[in-house]
């Protein structure tokens, strides 16, 4: 088997992964940095982010305010030391991104423009019309091409972390093109593979968001933290789940029910006078309640409410929200200049993920994580919109710095042992290829998984359905070991990749279900109908889920508190 040696290996080529690669390559020109991604980096799901990236920019803003907004948005579950670090680094990171060519929208005086966003006290979201993720990803990808010491492994699927002597020393990756395994070694590994939204049926996420990195770390013994907190973005298109950015509300859009009322203003949903600019968890709950009260619209893809942009005017929509206009016309046949857009809450982001410290380090020496894959945690129980793109930059860079430091002091490890581990993994996956004797159909298991997650871990959750979800998810874990595969080809076998992804999805889903069922309170995005209030007395901690053959074993981790004392979360 081919063995490739590098200083560090980065798994996942999206916003966080590319930022990490650039940081490592620029500061260590003699180091060799492997960037391993199952898709070409410009296809990473960072590309679909629309609204903006947050950092203090205006004179009427300060770091403390950004920090407090984030802590409050997280329903006081965010670690305040990490949040402090995050808001400090944010302006520097976004300025760097601008220097690298990102085409941010501008003010009259040539400085970068900012817009209002949910849960933010003042305008601090840097934006590029409504395609920030696209511009950020392409800017980072193009910048990364400057560095010949970034070695890209495009369309390689990492299915196992290689551990020797208690330290992570590389990955076993399937070269999708040839169908052969390669051992890619590095003295540190950074996981930046994004979240796992595809375990849900209605999601803004693309098909590649299958929680691969989370599953890799989990199986290697690293706990997954706060998995129960899943963000439902209030405004996704019914049916497809395509994202309609929060910036539509930031630019003044209204949410209306079937009575034409702005229900966030006319009824009390806890968002106060922020109305449509309240935090995402509250708005998603409000929409679900409106629909349950019979004030929603019925459509071929379920019930929905309306996002009304008709009062903004064609010029504003064309200059600030052109992509939204294109999406609405292409996917629901509606021109937002003239008609309201049908929307409903859809799964968008996972606050939870691989447990890391403020440097991106996990409990496994040599293993780091950043971006949506990681849970530092700066987002706690609910993330504020536009914080996650900045999170990718800040923690991608931080993880790279510390991974390179670690790599400098770490040894090579036992190559023979690592290669043997990779060969075992290759043999295991080879058995899966074209496994006609299996009994379970991939698309069937995926559909059932989606159904279980929708029923047990929706916007509103109940103990009985969550407990059922736990049992059903465990059953799926058993069934996914018996998949039937038809395609025995070697070259570009996407069925095999889908099967590996499905196994990852099932693991991630199980940790989510178990974590959700155990948290008997309502906090942030986790709303339990049986325990409707926040219980700081008993539940002010991070849920930790550890891998165990009998199912996820739970633990606790303290929240790092600071100057902001948990208080009632009202806007």
């Amino acid at each position: 088997m081919d063995v490739f040696r590098h200083d560090i290996v980065i798994v996942g080529g999206g916003g966080a992964g590319l930022r990490a690669a650039i940081e490592a390559a620029e500061n260590h020109p003699d180091a060799s940095i492997a960037l391993v991604s199952k898709v070409y980096p410009m296809r990473s799901h960072t590309v679909s982010a629309e609204g903006g990236a947050a950092a203090v920019a205006r004179d009427d803003d300060n770091l403390e305010l950004h920090g407090f907004d984030t802590v409050k948005g997280s329903d006081f579950l965010g670690d305040q030391d990490a949040i402090q670090f995050f808001v400090e680094e944010a302006p520097k990171e976004l300025a760097l991104l601008e220097n690298w060519g990102c085409p941010f929208s501008r003010n009259e005086d040539g400085t970068v423009a900012t817009r209002a966003f949910g849960g933010m006290t003042t305008k601090r979201t840097w934006y590029a019309a409504d395609k920030i993720g696209f511009h950020m990803l392409h800017t980072l990808f193009q910048q990364s091409m400057r560095f010949p010491n970034i070695v890209r492994y495009d369309e390689y699927f990492v299915s196992k972390l290689l551990v020797d002597g208690g330290t992570c020393r590389g990955v076993a990756a399937l070269d999708i093109r040839t169908g052969e395994y390669k051992t890619i070694l590095g003295r540190a590994v950074i996981l930046t593979t994004g979240g796992g939204g595809k375990i849900f049926p209605f999601t803004t996420n693309g098909t590649i968001k299958t929680g691969d990195g989370m599953a890799l770390a989990y199986r290697a013994g690293v706990p997954l933290k706060d998995m129960e907190f899943v963000q439902y973005h209030p405004t996704g298109l019914p049916g497809t789940g395509i994202l309609i950015t929060e910036a539509t509300r930031g630019e003044g859009g209204y949410l209306r029910n079937n009575q034409g009322e702005r229900f966030l203003v006319d009824y009390d949903y806890g968002v106060g006078n922020k109305a449509e600019l309240g935090p995402r968890d509250m708005i998603s709950r409000a929409i679900v309640q409106e629909i349950e009260a019979g004030r929603g619209f019925k459509g071929p893809y379920g019930e929905y409410v309306q996002l009304d942009l008709t009062h903004l005017g064609e010029e504003k929509i064309n200059s600030r929200l052109p992509f939204v206009r294109e999406l609405a016309k292409t996917y629901v046949g509606v021109d937002p200049v003239h008609e309201p857009i049908p929307i409903r809450p859809v799964v968008h982001y996972m606050m939870g993920g691989v447990d890391t410290d403020i440097h991106g380090a996990t409990s496994l020496p040599g293993l780091y994580a950043a971006g949506e894959t990681a849970c530092v945690s700066i987002n706690g129980a609910n993330r504020l919109g536009s914080n996650s793109l900045t999170e990718c930059l800040v923690f991608g860079a931080a993880a790279a710095q510390h991974a390179m430091d670690f790599a400098g002091g770490s040894s090579e490890g036992n190559e023979a042992a690592l290669r043997a581990e990779a060969e075992d993994e290759a043999a295991r996956v080879e058995n899966l290829r074209g496994r006609r004797k299996g009994g379970e159909k991939i698309s069937e298991i995926r559909r059932e998984l989606n159904g279980i997650m929708e029923a047990s871990c929706g916007v509103y959750r109940q103990q009985d359905s969550m407990q059922a979800g736990v049992i059903e998810a465990a059953q799926l874990r058993g069934r996914v070991a018996d998949l039937r595969l038809e395609d025995d080809s070697k070259v570009f076998n996407t069925e095999l990749i889908t099967a590996l992804e499905l196994a990852n999805m099932v693991e991630v889903a199980e940790t989510l279900a178990v974590s959700a069922a155990h948290r008997k309170e309502s906090r942030g995005a986790h709303t339990c109908k049986d325990f409707t209030t926040r219980n700081d007395q008993d539940y002010l901690y991070h849920t930790m889920a550890y891998h165990d053959p009998a199912g996820p074993r739970l633990g606790k981790k303290d929240v790092v508190l600071g100057k902001w004392v948990p208080e009632e979360r009202k806007y």
Partner: protein, 254 residues
């Protein structure tokens, strides 16, 4: 939901089993709101899980799902299926070598893409460049300056333009629409100082002058980038720089 049955014909090719690509037909019950990609996904999920193709975002922004649909290069997640009749032929993107089924080899494009130096080139290192940055650490750029290059920065690298370009079909070294448009985007960015370098690349082996302004690339571009305009603007600039280079060796100002 009432469905219409269509015959979807896919190109199949497994280098270990097939000498040349072949066609395979599937009967698919299509919903009225479906895009072409939905039909392909249906085939994979329900009829034949051995087909291979690329897709991801399904919202026309990642650029993965480009394929030929009834002879035209399309983004299959954006092309509405009900605009086609009862027989829809889906093939891999033209002008690219075929790796497997509907998957084409992109290494050639990635190489061309990298060769135009698609990053901000500054004469000085950032630390020495500080006087050009404002107090927030960003470069000053007006809305008009942004508008100069904004359109050319919208390319999602879907490569439909390469499939449509008659020159790419015949000249393997031609840089091609997306790569030239990207290089030109940086040339027009007021923060960039690398125009001369890129114009030299434009006059080099993959020369922009191979373009005959067929405009096919711009006609198929799903993001209205208008790469044909970029290439022909670039020709103008490349000639000016060449002329300046004759008169003032070592190049005049930027």
């Amino acid at each position: 939901m009432p469905t219409t049955e269509k015959t979807i014909v896919l190109t199949r090719f497994d280098p270990d089993k097939d000498e040349t690509p072949r066609k395979q037909e599937y009967q698919v019950p299509c919903e009225p709101s479906w895009k072409v990609l939905d039909a392909v996904n249906f085939i994979k999920d329900e009829l034949d899980s051995t087909i291979s193709y690329r897709w991801s975002c399904r919202m026309a922004v990642c650029g993965s799902c480009g394929m030929m649909v009834n002879g035209e290069p399309k983004l299959t997640c954006k092309a509405a299926l009900d605009e086609y009749g009862s027989r829809v032929e889906i093939e891999p993107l033209a002008n690219f070598p075929i790796v497997r089924d509907l998957v084409v080899e992109l290494d050639g494009f990635m190489h061309k893409f990298e060769s135009v130096k698609p990053w901000i080139i500054r004469a000085k290192e950032r630390a020495a460049d500080m006087e050009n940055l404002n107090e927030k650490g960003t470069y000053s750029q007006s809305t008009e300056e942004l508008a100069d290059f904004k359109q050319f920065s919208m390319c999602i690298n879907c490569m439909l333009c390469y499939s449509a370009c008659p020159v790419v079909a015949n000249e393997p070294e031609f840089l091609g629409p997306a790569a030239i448009a990207l290089g030109h985007r940086y040339n027009l960015d007021n923060r960039d100082e690398g125009t001369e370098e890129r114009h030299e690349i434009f006059r080099g082996e993959g020369t922009v002058f191979s373009c005959s302004y067929a405009n096919e690339c711009s006609e198929v571009c799903p993001k209205n980038v208008d790469p044909a305009a970029a290439i022909n603007q670039a020709k103008f600039g490349a000639v000016i720089d060449w002329a300046k280079g004759l008169v003032l060796p070592r190049g005049g100002s930027n």
